[in-house]
Symmetry: C3
Subunit: 260 residues, 3 copies
């Protein structure tokens, strides 16, 4: 049975997510309905980079062939394109505005969504989640070939920062707990044994309980990259660090230097 | 397979929504379970008008015969009636306190929920979502005839404002993005080409990108009515406008008058 | 079909819940997938007592044999054990840190999760929700015997307060509406007809509408215990009461004494 997941910035107070689910149920009709999975709906309004990270790190747990709809779309109805993307054995549906920036690194093919079988009869200017993306996902789930959605295109959506530079990482996501998630992979960080973030040198430890409550630590997070946290606290507030901040691998014994 | 959607003000921190889902699963027993769909759970606590709008605009995307449970119910256990409503080819289950005010305009029949096959054996005074509404939805999904739930009744629940007056609209909903959603239909608004809201005259444009970031605009929203937004911002805060505010269609060239 | 419910403090902005759902879908493979039910994801970060109460009061509505995953796990990767618990005819999966404190009162057997069939090949130090608990739930849903997860263990997780003392209750949960939910059972409270909370004596009434808007009341809540609320308001703020506060049954006519 087909799986469709939904990642949006629609929140859970309005009916927007509900309308998308309604479209999927209605398109399925008497066929077996796809399984619809709520992946994340409280992406901060219009925060494309947040949506991109959630998309990159959670959808690969799903089986090959699964369909992932991403609606963080402040430019809806404007110049950015509606696209369907084939990457990492899965299908991604949403606006080409950067939400697929990480996914696109492994993109094999992308198509504009123009064919009427993939769009509602009347498409509103401000709710493509309902009128285009839910429709497209439902059409793919029902067996339509995504390659017939429209002409093949190159993805143009980018985030504020480019591809990772060698030996320097960035904070690419701050999660609900205030943990700083970086794109610095385990292999590079562990060579030195520590990272420099803000003006702190933090040795890479194992898990939160390796420090006392209220203390900072770095560790290899569940995405396989360096993270920085405060045990039972928020690292973003402690360090005053925002998304995009640089994180550099360094020697653990730098921690014994004058920085402290 | 039957579809049951849930709209509540229970939030996603407590177990109330979970208890309702448990009841539905338990009533289904060994029969094929209905598909349960989370529609919206962060309706502001006790905000009947908010729940009414979400109900009106999202449930019609679902197929005919679908069942929609609405629990925004500050008067639970008191004088308002538990009802099941047939409207627009779908079934609505909840309190008769105004949450069905929009739906009721197209209501064909409504029944009080009194029959024991539609209620738990012991009904608590403060959680009819679990003890009555989830039960009733599960019973209908299992094939019970809703017309046997109890005596036929007239709906009495109303919102603070009455039916729409001619040629004047109101802000009927403010969404997560701070967009002002009105009940002024496209046909009436477009004749003049602009709307007056607060002390601003706003020409009706197509979508957010038609103005610069931070600017106000009016457009025809996804419900087919006029909406007012700030691109990449919040119109509710910019205009200091609350739900219930009046919105009037006017000539677009009024925008060139002394108001600006 | 197997049912797996999820209770977490992961919120709905990040991809953590999504990753757990992906694991469950992937483990199911071509077998019929279990029904995954979102029970509550906005448990306050790290708030074990909150998670424990939600677990205790919502999961028993689900049928026997259902599987309930609870991830409120600030000590992940540290000393607390990963466990699967059999209680009240259902299976509970999560950390042994107190989230099962109420459930454990009716616990029949508990097992550490050590067997590789119940864990991912590579288990991260900080995300057992994905790498252990979702896996274990999926394995049980697929027919694995939970008793083979690992050695039988005694649960050691406790909350800040012990088992209930005779004739005194506590506020054990504060819900989204600011209602104070106690562990004082109906039978004990109703004998006297009132409760003492903070410095107020409140007679036990039926439901919110039994008092005027803005007034305090006590009543028997949907968990069968005493609750304290303000009609159309928040009792936690009105009384300045936190979780753990004592609540004592008393005679209703004490309300006519000098306390008022």
């Amino acid at each position: 049975m087909a799986i469709i997941t939904l990642i949006t910035d629609f929140g859970t107070a309005d009916g927007y997510v509900g309308a998308m689910k309604g479209v999927i149920a209605r398109v399925a009709g008497t066929r077996p309905a796809p399984t619809v999975v709520d992946l994340a709906h409280d992406v901060p309004p219009g925060d494309i980079a947040h949506g991109a990270w959630v998309t990159a790190t959670s959808t690969t747990e799903f089986p090959h062939g699964s369909i992932h709809v991403v609606v963080v779309d402040p430019g809806v109805g404007g110049k950015r394109r509606d696209v369907v993307v084939h990457a990492r054995g899965r299908w991604y549906v949403g606006p080409d505005n950067g939400v697929f920036a990480y996914v696109a690194e492994r993109c094999r093919e992308a198509y504009a969504i123009e064919n009427e079988r993939f769009r509602a009869e009347h498409v509103s200017r401000t709710f493509h989640g309902r009128d285009v993306f839910a429709r497209t996902a439902a059409a793919i789930a029902a067996g339509e070939d995504p390659a017939t959605a429209g002409p093949r295109v190159e993805l143009v959506g980018r985030l504020a920062w480019g591809p990772r530079e060698r030996e320097v990482g960035r904070v690419v996501h701050i999660d609900r707990f205030g943990n700083l998630i970086t794109d610095l992979p385990e292999a590079e960080a562990e060579a030195g044994g520590a990272v420099l973030v803000a003006s702190d040198v933090l040795p890479i430890l194992g898990t939160y309980e390796d420090v006392a409550p209220g203390q900072l630590l770095a560790y290899i997070g569940s995405a396989g990259t360096v993270e920085v946290a405060v045990r039972d606290g928020r690292a973003d507030r402690r360090l005053g660090v925002s998304r995009g901040a640089l994180v550099m691998p360094c020697k653990a014994d730098a921690a014994r230097g004058p920085y402290r």
